[in-house]
Symmetry: C3
Subunit: 382 residues, 3 copies
């Protein structure tokens, strides 16, 4: 197989996508909220954004407002952002710092950073249905399961969350090796730039777009300039463990191919000068290059609107040195805008009779079908 | 019982509120429109706002636009604001004055101030299904029942309205005496100030907020300054006939406790230096203090939006004297804003799984449960 | 019958209109989209707006975005505006020019002006489900039926459109003669002015308004000035073949009755000095006067919003002469605004209990009932 020949491992027949209704229906989106976003591990915040005790952030997960806070014991915890008394939102600001407590401004019910109800007017006189003093945890903040991985806090709204290994397995499978992602030391990196995109498209169009590279030669001139094999239309994600090689004259993963920074300490020679991409369903994309990481989180707000938050992560040394990261930021920022424009151009057609039974996947897009099968299987559960 | 001990007449166990769906569901709101707002006596306009013949005002009642107009015979009447011919809105301005007629601008069907169809192109030639000339009242404006009380016109969209005594009975019960409210002479007072608030919350959250004072010490510093017993969290409405006493150094019901105006002529010594509050379901709150009245009317526009119109009423003498009413207006204007902020902070949580079965009522809020029972009983009717 | 006596051919009893729900319900509008707008011949573009090869325009028909384009062979064609691969909109601009192809910017699937799939990355390697190379027309743009009449392109989304004669028959019936409309030579006229109106009303209110003249004396002073018989309230459309005569002192169909232009070459003496109006269901109105044509197309966007595009058509000679058309444009522009204001005033009442079973039609409006019967019969089909 020469570099001119695309690796068509699949039979070349066209396959169909999901029907258009999956991308616009309120009923489908409500089912996705319940069975996907409120039933999966969702990447919520960068842990280092909540570095000190009392530092909190409010995040939308499915239909719930979730409050993440660093305790005085140094642990991160997550709770539903709602007072147990009459339901006022505890925090209305997107982020901030409290000293020791969250105090609901409506009736002054007050909760410790571990969620315990610590004070309320006449609290001592309140009883439960048996006449006993009320349990301070039963009437404390409703806890949400939380795990840390890759330097992010992941939360799950289920009472009994699925094993977190299911999440890490995706990255293992995609990179062909359980240690491959760990070598980048993502948890120890710092956020050099964060850009938030408000995209007028269904979240699944954004996933599908990220998974394939058949569009790369059409809309990503800068990316194809750095990764010339992308001009063949085969995504790094199309086969497990595959990374796309930098062009021979390319010095770094930057908008003009100029040199980036020192390669991350842990990565192997095989990982050097390569771009890897991982989709961690349902809402995370991880892009791995030798000297930095581009990390996407999505917040699906409606069938036709998705907010995407993108972090560019570098070593503390690079950021402390004051070196300019904008050439590497600019490359994927352009890719993001090119991709989201394409998704927004596609969304309006989802209601067309021509898309009633979906569009077609060419062979280099066939792996998207597994994403569609996963969505359908989640919605069919129960 | 000392002033330090709250009068816990109810057993102290927590009770639950309505489930969150009651505050956001379109289906619940549609049922409320039909079975509550379009089936109750609704306070529509201050009669003195329509003082002269031909003066009219347009008011939203449930899903209907209602036209109130003073006749040339001096009587106030209410009609649906819709031409009987092809349905054009008769009046599109919120208020105004006509001489003798409402003339539909579309096809010139013309109605007297008593609703009778008085003119139309070719009117003499029109017949009903029997071939007889058409009945000028059958094709006149659709009348709406109207009663005056407390200087306001109350309307009911039902063909057979419930007895108006059901409305006045609430005030009687709340104040412990049929004459208590009459002594204030509310019908004879004038509007010194009117402020309209657009609140992003369900109307029932606003009622619940008005009914209890457990929040007073948290959000109403000025009000508690004037009525120190409110710091205990017990609302004047929690027990029938109870009024909250002014603090010993307080001279008037003003934002800084400074003197107000002469007490209203009819009130008793017991009513002096006290604040009383009455909820007249579904949409009116009356606040009684010795020298003025604060009167709230609500217009629920959607499950999540309610417009509240608040009148401050004084004697004609006070207003004619040119004395400054702003210190008394400012007190309840602050209370209003504090309350509506709290309601707006609560509304977003109504969709949370943590509020699926509602929040809890502490003992000093237990009387709110009777409001919930009333709502449920109205929705369950038929 | 003197000119003072309206020609009441119908028995004078009032008839009822459609109930208010027909004008606001999402379900009714969805049924109208499917069974009326997506199942009828819809007037889409003025052919001369797409005069040269590669010139295209995007038009909303029912729920579909339709692309009309002039081929290099000189023919006009229509297609669904959606790429067959993954559904991106081919054209997002309302109009423009391409050279030979539409190229989808997402993955570069490329279509000829006849819809054939002409190029795509790796196209030669793609196969259908049988393993055969894909059919370039099966995966070409989805064609939409198109017919030209009166100088406009009419399209129909049905696979098997109804006979176009059904469309022309309406004009024949209304004007009493198959040749009557042809004599105006509308296809050969040019657009002298185009105005687009965004109307906050259901499309059927606009049709009903256009069909009757009972409102003319109330809201159209300029029109009645030119056509004095309209003061009697009888529409030209009320009886087949009837045209309204210009007033004796009127020189032309202009806002002030001043002279217009030479009469169109083909029309008869009987057609001179007369105004004729034709409703071509569902969305076209044609107004015929001796020296120009006023042509309305409607685009119903929601139950409560309709865009109306109005063309004023003149001979090429008139437009080439540089003579001022504004006095004739101004007349019907005022009529349009007066009518659309009336429709917008009527729309809000459609939800009223007083319109639950509709309003009433006076005898000079009775012919509107046939429009209502047509709507109901279309919605009842299947």
């Amino acid at each position: 197989m020469t570099s001119e020949t695309p690796p068509l491992l699949n039979p070349p027949a066209l396959r169909t996508t999901l029907g258009g209704d999956y991308y616009v229906s309120d009923a489908v989106f409500a089912a996705e909220q319940e069975r996907i976003f409120e039933a999966s591990w969702i990447c919520a915040v960068r842990c280092s954004d909540l570095a000190t005790p009392g530092r909190f952030q409010k995040v939308q997960v499915g239909r719930e407002s979730v409050l993440l806070v660093r305790g005085r014991d140094g642990l991160l915890r997550a709770f539903l952002n709602i007072c147990r008394h009459r339901g006022a939102q505890l925090c209305t600001e997107p982020e901030g710092t409290v000293r020791r407590y969250f105090r609901c401004p409506y009736h002054s019910w007050t909760y410790g950073l571990d969620g315990k109800l610590t004070a309320a007017p006449n609290l001592a006189a309140l009883t439960d249905e048996t006449g006993a003093p009320i349990d301070r945890y039963r009437y404390g903040l409703v806890p949400v399961a939380l795990t840390e991985w890759l330097g992010y806090a992941w939360v799950c709204l289920l009472d009994t969350p699925p094993p977190f290994d299911d999440v890490t397995a995706e990255a293992t499978r995609a990179l062909g090796d359980p240690d491959a992602i760990n070598r980048y030391g993502i948890g120890g990196l710092d956020v050099g730039r964060r850009i938030v995109y408000d995209v007028a498209a269904n979240w699944k169009l954004i996933v599908e777009n990220f998974m394939e590279c058949y569009h790369c030669s059409s809309i990503h001139p800068e990316l194809v300039g750095v990764l010339p094999e992308f001009s063949r239309g085969v995504a790094a994600q199309a086969s497990d463990g595959a990374g796309a090689e930098f062009g021979s004259h390319i010095e770094g993963f930057t908008v003009d191919g100029a040199a980036g920074f020192d390669r991350l300490p842990g990565i192997t020679d095989e990982q050097d000068r390569r771009y890897y991409a991982v989709t961690v369903k349902p809402t995370v994309f991880v892009n791995l290059v030798p000297d930095h990481i581009i990390f996407h989180r999505m917040y699906p707000l409606s069938p036709v609107r998705t907010v995407v938050e993108c972090d560019w992560l570098y070593t503390a040394d690079v950021l402390a040195s004051g070196r300019d990261v904008s050439a590497s930021v600019e490359l994927f920022h352009r890719v993001n805008r090119q991709d989201f424009d394409a998704c927004e151009r596609t969304q309006p057609s989802m209601t067309s009779r021509a898309y009633r039974h979906g569009g077609v996947l060419v062979p280099t897009e066939h792996h998207i079908a597994s994403f569609h099968e996963w969505v359908v299987s989640r919605l069919d559960e129960r």
